[in-house]
């Protein structure tokens, strides 16, 4: 299993960050390699991503299930690649550092199964932190661009 946790401070109130976080359509496009996302219902979605594996780029479909929405602080999710023996889970945690400042932490665990699992995990180990970091920074940028940093919250 490989995992990563990335934290980042967003200049926006926790409620405003949550509005963005619970709208999958809003942030799905921030995923590296994102192609499109089919929303089945509030908890289930199917993502199509292009993922680099060495010199090979593969289009993969990922079934995502949000198992717990506990906004504005928490959300937990699981995911599984369709057709590939790779699955995982993750969490979103948000803490208000002030009226207009929020720290979010994104944790992701990925687990390969079957005989090729060591290969998948070795390939993913250096990529996952970069992937998660890149996503967190994009997330921050989008929320702040939407006006999070310009709230009327008192200093």
């Amino acid at each position: 299993m490989i995992d990563t946790e990335q934290s980042i401070i967003i200049e926006a109130p926790i409620e405003q960050v949550w509005i963005f976080a619970k709208d999958i359509n809003a942030w799905a496009k921030l995923m590296p390699g994102f192609q499109h996302c089919d929303i089945a219902d509030a908890d289930h979605s199917r993502w199509t991503l292009k993922i680099g594996v060495g010199a090979l780029i593969r289009t993969v479909k990922v079934a995502v299930h949000v198992g717990r929405w506990a906004g504005p602080e928490d959300a937990d999710f699981t995911f599984a690649l369709e057709g590939d023996p790779v699955q995982g889970r993750g969490s979103y945690r948000a803490v208000a550092l002030g009226p207009a400042q929020t720290r979010i932490s994104l944790a992701v665990q990925v687990e390969g199964t079957g005989p090729m699992a060591p290969m998948w995990e070795a390939m993913g180990r250096p990529l996952l932190p970069k992937f998660a970091r890149g996503f967190a920074e994009q997330f921050k940028g989008e929320v702040e661009q939407l006006g999070g940093g310009a709230t009327d919250a008192p200093p």
Partner: protein, 567 residues
């Protein structure tokens, strides 16, 4: 001869290599070691060329590594092997030149750049045991895993391959049961190699040469395209290139080496030079015939040896890292048990377990009807194959992506859906199943080439590693597409034994050299042997670099003098 010198040169070196596969890098290394200054310019963003896309095999008869293991062989035996299979399309001197210099170049690069190759044990020549001069093992070499971290800034600018994990050697693959038994490979070992970036196969071979160039200060320019050769009216004296959007005039006081692989990504050249109609390709986009565009204006002679269409498959969702669709060679899959290849009539037409047999048959033209009777063609297999073996990038048992294969519960329905004669297919499978159970294929002798068993069969399958019934539905069909040879194409520039490009007047074009797949294969004629292209590339580079430095090899002259012949 052109006279097109610029008013001002931007750079000045002794030797410019165009292309960064084994040929271009070897030439620059040999030149630098013989006192010249050299630069390698590469059009793409990564070094390594088609060498890095190869299996990393280096086929050198009479090499000292095999000798060290007590394996009996000689360069002369290898020459006779090549000559006897060349069907008269080769040239005796070129074959002798490669036979003599292959082992020499190998030793040279071992000594000078730390190239480490090892014998691939129990890996026979293509035509073993059918050719008297074939051997059961010893001629095939492959790189010992290379630590890519030692490439420094070029670690991530040296090409990997999308076709196979670069962390396995042939030895590892065969130890795990061969290509067919992919799930039995040692993925713990692979994970360790990935983590340490230890590269094997083609990426490993290319990396050794990149390291050799770096260690001796050869300049390496990526994203730099050669646009025109510069001449002074008597010889080639430089290159006009484009780098960062600007023209770059590089003076080459002693010569220019063209080593840009083949031309299959240019469909017009593929059609007109190889009669290859609308081909796909397993290599990247820069393999598009730059050697002809560069040397053509100087009157360089080109020639061609037979080069059949390969056959490729594309799994939806797989791309090169530049975003273009990835086509894979079908070779590893065609000869698997429970798998056949059929034409429109539903008939087999070749030994699917030996690609030379299949590919030449695909190109066959029936003059009576002016048709290709064996194209289009399809790979047909059953549930047993899908359960046990990989298919393209799909692992055994994994669902195939939509659009990859036609799937049906019956052979007749499958045939109807792909436009094949249903009765013909059913009859073919019935006969084939009898052959498979007996372990003998009287029609096409499938399973009689040990090389084919190792590379396209299941070495654990009994009684014949290339024969297994198609009895269990669902049945699958995948259309096979004509494909280029992975940079190994039939036409190329004609050169002498020092790799000097020849003009149509049969005289060398002074200052212009060619190496690797850019040179016509007069040293093979109609035959092919995997690993020979990498061997040619490094040998040509060695010869060209030495000649440009004024230290040409005299080994061919010596050998011919012994025969009373002049080179």
């Amino acid at each position: 001869m052109l006279e097109n010198q610029p008013e001002k040169w931007d750079m000045e070196v002794d030797l410019v290599s165009i292309g960064s596969g084994a040929g271009g890098l070897a030439a620059a290394i040999a030149a630098q070691d013989h006192g010249l200054s050299a630069i390698v310019i590469e059009r793409s963003s990564e070094l390594g060329g088609v060498t890095a896309y190869s299996m990393g095999e280096v086929w050198i008869p009479g090499n000292h590594l095999a000798s060290g293991l007590g394996l009996e062989d000689s360069p002369e035996s290898g020459r006779l092997y090549v000559q006897s299979l060349s069907m008269g399309y080769g040239e005796d001197r070129a074959m002798l030149n490669q036979a003599i210099h292959g082992p020499v170049a190998l030793k040279y690069f071992e000594d000078r750049i730390g190239l480490k190759l090892q014998v691939i044990r129990n890996f026979p020549d293509y035509y073993y045991p059918h050719n008297n001069n074939s051997v059961a093992e010893g001629r095939y070499l492959e790189p010992v895993p290379f630590a890519a971290e030692t490439l420094g800034a070029f670690q991530h600018k040296t090409r990997l391959t999308p076709h196979l994990p670069a962390g396995f050697t042939h030895e590892d693959i065969f130890h795990g049961g061969g290509l067919a038994n992919i799930l039995a490979w040692n993925y713990e070992l692979l994970a360790e190699r990935i983590t340490k970036d230890l590269r094997c196969l083609g990426p490993g071979l290319a990396a050794y040469f990149v390291k050799g160039a770096l260690d001796r200060g050869v300049q390496l320019f990526t994203d730099t395209s050669a646009d025109e050769l510069i001449c002074d009216g008597t010889r080639v004296v430089g290159v006009r290139a484009t780098r960062e959007g600007k023209a770059l005039f590089i003076k080459a006081k002693r010569g220019v080496v063209i080593a840009v692989s083949g031309y299959e990504r240019n469909k017009d050249l593929a059609k007109t030079l190889s009669n290859l109609l609308d081909p796909v390709s397993m290599v990247f986009g820069t393999v598009d015939g730059a050697h002809f565009r560069l040397a053509g204006p100087l009157g360089a002679r080109i020639a061609r040896v037979p080069d059949p269409a390969n056959l490729g498959i594309h799994m939806p969702g797989e791309e090169h890292d530049n975003g273009t669709p990835l086509w894979r060679g079908s070779l590893p899959f065609l000869g698997l048990p429970h798998t056949i290849v059929v034409n429109r009539a539903g008939k087999r037409f070749a030994n699917e377990a030996f690609y030379r047999s299949v590919y030449y048959a695909v190109d066959h033209i029936d003059g009576a009807t002016q048709t290709h009777p064996n194209f289009p063609c399809w790979m047909v297999f059953d549930h047993q194959a899908r359960t046990k073996y990989p298919c393209g990038g799909a692992m055994p048992g994994q669902d195939l992506p939509e659009g990859f294969a036609v799937i049906s519960g019956s052979l007749k329905e499958l045939a109807a859906r792909i436009g094949v004669d249903p009765d013909g297919l059913e009859q073919t499978v019935g006969v084939f199943n009898d052959y498979a159970e007996a372990g003998v294929d009287p029609d096409f002798q499938r399973g009689t080439f040990p090389w084919g068993a190792a590379m396209t069969g299941d070495i654990k399958h009994k009684p014949n590693p290339n024969l297994g019934t198609l009895r269990e539905g669902p049945f699958y069909a995948i259309a096979l597409q004509r494909m280029g040879g992975g940079g190994i194409n039939g036409a190329g520039l004609v050169a002498d034994h020092h790799c000097r490009v020849m003009g149509w007047d049969d005289r060398p074009i002074e200052g212009l050299y060619v190496a690797g797949n850019s040179m016509v294969r007069f040293d093979t004629g109609a035959m092919m042997q995997s690993g020979l292209s990498n061997a040619r590339g490094m040998t040509h580079g060695y010869l060209a670099g030495r000649h440009a430095a004024g230290c040409p090899s005299d080994l061919l002259d010596t050998a011919l003098a012994g025969q009373g012949t002049v080179a």
